[in-house]
Subunit: 327 residues, 4 copies
């Protein structure tokens, strides 16, 4: 038998590095309202995670002049995958920058590079699994913090949703060919052009979605970062908590694509939208045929299967109509 | 760069093939009470699946003199993995029997073999994705049947739990070394011997668990087959449904190991125990350190974190005490 | 001590008598989709109730040329209250019609009369508590039918919501002074005129609500009949069921007034809107101060605290704006 | 028509006055774990209520040498009912003690007296509705505090459950005849003697239950004070919170009697058992026939319909068996 050699693989979405123009407000939102736990604060960077996250952090926040996403971190399956990915990317003409171990707290050597859309990704393997301090530690050996300490109290990071004004397929092909993502669902405009795509390296329906916006928008915007709750009821409780904190939100509702429930709420400090997310399905099938939603199907059930249909950022239906005409 | 060659891999738990000494009662239980959908009936074999299952079946039931599990089917990641696994197993001295395509409805060529405990596994790649008939088909493109048509109405198959009187580690090592399962959690007796293990090839905490029973028991028993529900509330609704059907059950409760909620109920036709299962955590970490529960930890939180502690089959605590003395 | 004499009192909302222009479709909706149980069918009238209702029926449906609400039945606290109410009403100039025992299946002697808005109410005391037939009977002695037999499966009737184009206070005063209802919550337009009122004789926030519509509408319309579910999660399940039945609905969302969750769906046979309803608060305080919501408060939190804000019948915000200008 | 004169009536359970031998621990439990809000602290008495309670307090706690229930307060429907009840009770030979307005913070003139079992009841009408302070006040006009601020976070007080070693019917008859309670459900021992009773003045199945214990126990013990949650899912969340606080509890489970779900947990400071309680049914029927559960029915479904059957105080089944033999 031949010697087995393994393809480099991404294991999971790791974290989002956020810069906030109002750090205090962002910290109030993420710690008190959303209920993330702070692992530690080092040199002005606050490292946060949910009670069921196992890595050192799944969100970092630091102060800045303007708010933006510095990068989106992904953990590889093996230590050597970082270098292998670097080689694959460089061979394909993508500029790769190496980040030294420790430059980001708790993290080993990493690489950063940009998608064709300009979104900055980071790949790393080593990451500390800093345990919770005794006061916040769960009595369960397989759980980081006590659950339900404060606010919405999600279990773990789930996925990111990116927006781009460049061609959707260009980004999708990069994700599939260079990084090993699998296409799970997508929808097309009236010209049958793929304008929004859900992809994953895990059985989650998406670790990343990429939505086309109209051409007046920036190529590398972020629609949201999602955190997972275990039960739909917890989402309704989240809605009560957000109203009591006097923070506007959209939802609850259920998507047809992914079959998951959502509440969308923006961090009032940075403007980063968070999706509070639950239910949905998992894909274990190795020969998954990507689900194609036509424009009409998308409008009927794909986006909002039921529930609050408002969009707090864009009128997505109007936007899709625009896309149809312009492309 | 070297040529990439891939290791054979199991993608997912596929199905359980059940023989029932009271087929009529089993069908009433699985179709009307549990609420599985029947894909089709061929030559006396009833092929069933949950509304969110994508394969042709996740449970088959046929009549027999006595009730038993004929085999447990697992789907491989690639078509060629079936033969590769066959070679690996035969090289290691395990007897492998080839099953022709179509011998099991909807299924391609497969192999069957026994674990060191005698539990019979099947590996296959090809399996029909028979769509639901129009009356039962979901309006959602990514969902097989309408949800909530009848009874408990779980979403999908989740895992199996096996019992054996042979050495736990012997089975665990076979699963890890020959089939690529990863150890996720385990507990030990007072002599620090591993007596129960949770393993998976997916991010689920377990696709299979293997529990040691006392030596008077058979080496290849099944503790349960689990079906997944999306929400904890659905489990409470299941409890109401089971009581109204006058079927005894154990639960609801929450396990510490896996952090999942459970209701255990036996098919009154065959005696097969079904775990109605929800919540819990996923493991995306590539360097997961198996969680070890000591005997005391297991008794306190590992088995029943909270809820109904009864066991309908064995007094597991008494059993563990016995294991401690005898080994 | 003086002799104690009791005031006549209404105990509870009893039932709604519906005439449907498409009986078959209405029965499909109420029995298969909503999941009400049919007590019996007598002379073309189908008597329905929820699994936790104790009276013979809480909804009756019969065929008619056009769809309308024949009457809304209320049960009195004592048998003699029916006659006492008749006297009070007649003394005040309200026409009262006596209905013979048995004219409505299961019901004793009753009176019918109209509110100032023209809505027809019925008062009765005697009503059969026909038990469920053995196949559908709950194993619980305090529950009529097995729960969760079909569809949405609400527990019990909850309240009615009436619409009128006549003066809101005129109807409210009639309900308070003649029938003993207590005002619980209300909202006013910009001219500080009470335009919508929630009243009850029980600790429910409302057994009846009366909403002012614009003057072009009929004086005696019904906005909805509500059935109660025990848990918010059950409402989300209802949303799935309605979508799978391809019936449009509004919700889920949470009202500020009553603090209850809702899904609004119309019987496709008759057009009668059903509110699937849960959570909310109870009023046990004997000196309850009616909650007044200003126009702005009503728009912000009173109507939709969160969730789906659409209205399937009228644009209620536009309507309120109209009311403000016209009155 | 005769002049209408009204019978004195109890409107609702008001509060429980607790003395704790470990005030600090009790306050930690009630404020941080259970999540009650403190209205104010006056002269060492801590006045607490749930976020949806409307009165000044539903629980008061002060320090004492030993832990005990000082009294159980009930609000009357009208101010004059307090004196009328005093007269009825004194006429029947029950000793009545008047409590001056303000002796209990926020409360008007009241009377105190003992049931035949020795449990001390208080009747009052006037009670302050102190609003929440601005930081904790709900954005909803009909809700006292923001929900979900801390811990389990129940909505409101629900009922009390008393234990007595005196004859059950003696206490029941007192409650019915002197105080206007209605019997809703009860169970009998093998000699057909009523040994446990559920009674209410509201549509709740019980505002008070009275359970017979064996004769070695005190005549005036309290089994529990119950607080209400809106959803069954909230009870499962409560179970997680209690485990993380390392406080033992019993449940979750569902009672057949009342059809409600429960978790039982003791305040570690005073030993007072709290029932965290949800779901169940309401009785609006004016001619409710009390549900009788035989001994066998009680054991099968009445006590624990499903769920955790353990009792943390007494082996109730053993106790009932004892009752059967001794009476």
């Amino acid at each position: 038998m031949e010697k087995f050699v393994v393809l480099p693989e991404i294991a999971k979405l790791g974290h989002v590095a956020l810069v906030s123009e109002n750090l205090e407000k962002s910290l109030w939102f993420f710690r008190d309202v959303l209920g993330l736990e702070e692992t530690e604060e080092v040199d002005g960077v606050h490292y946060l995670r949910a009670w069921g996250d196992f890595e050192h952090h799944t969100l970092s926040v630091r102060a800045g002049e303007t708010s933006y996403i510095d990068h989106i971190g992904w953990r590889t399956k093996r230590r050597e995958d970082v270098a292998t990915f670097a080689k694959i990317l460089e061979d394909a003409g993508t500029e790769v920058r190496w980040i030294k171990a420790g430059e980001e707290r708790g993290q080993g050597e990493a690489i950063r590079f940009e998608l064709p859309s300009g979104h900055r990704f980071e790949l790393y393997y080593d990451m500390e699994k800093t345990p919770a301090d005794p006061e916040r530690k769960s009595v369960l050996k397989n759980q980081t913090y006590k659950a339900w300490r404060k606010g919405v109290s999600p279990r773990r990071i789930d996925h990111i949703n990116l927006q781009t004004s460049v061609n959707n397929l260009e980004v999708v092909n990069f994700l599939r060919e260079k990084l090993g993502f699998k296409l799970r669902e997508y929808f097309v405009n009236k010209n049958n052009e793929q304008v929004a795509s859900w992809l994953s390296v895990t059985p989650l329906v998406h670790d990343v979605a990429i939505m086309t916006t109209d051409r007046s928008k920036k190529p590398n915007e972020m629609h949201h970062l999602a955190y997972w709750l275990d039960n739909a009821q917890d989402l309704l409780r989240a809605a009560d908590i957000l109203n009591e904190a006097e923070i506007e939100f959209v939802g609850p509702g259920k998507h047809g694509i992914s079959q998951a429930m959502y509440v969308y709420v923006k961090d009032p400090g940075s403007g980063l939208r968070i999706e509070i997310f639950t239910n949905g399905y998992l894909i274990f099938e190795p020969d998954w045929e990507p689900i194609k939603w036509t424009y009409e199907e998308y409008l009927k059930y794909g986006s909002t299967y039921w529930g609050d249909r408002r969009r707090d950022d864009v009128d997505r239906e109007a936007q899709i109509r625009e896309l149809i005409q312009s492309r």
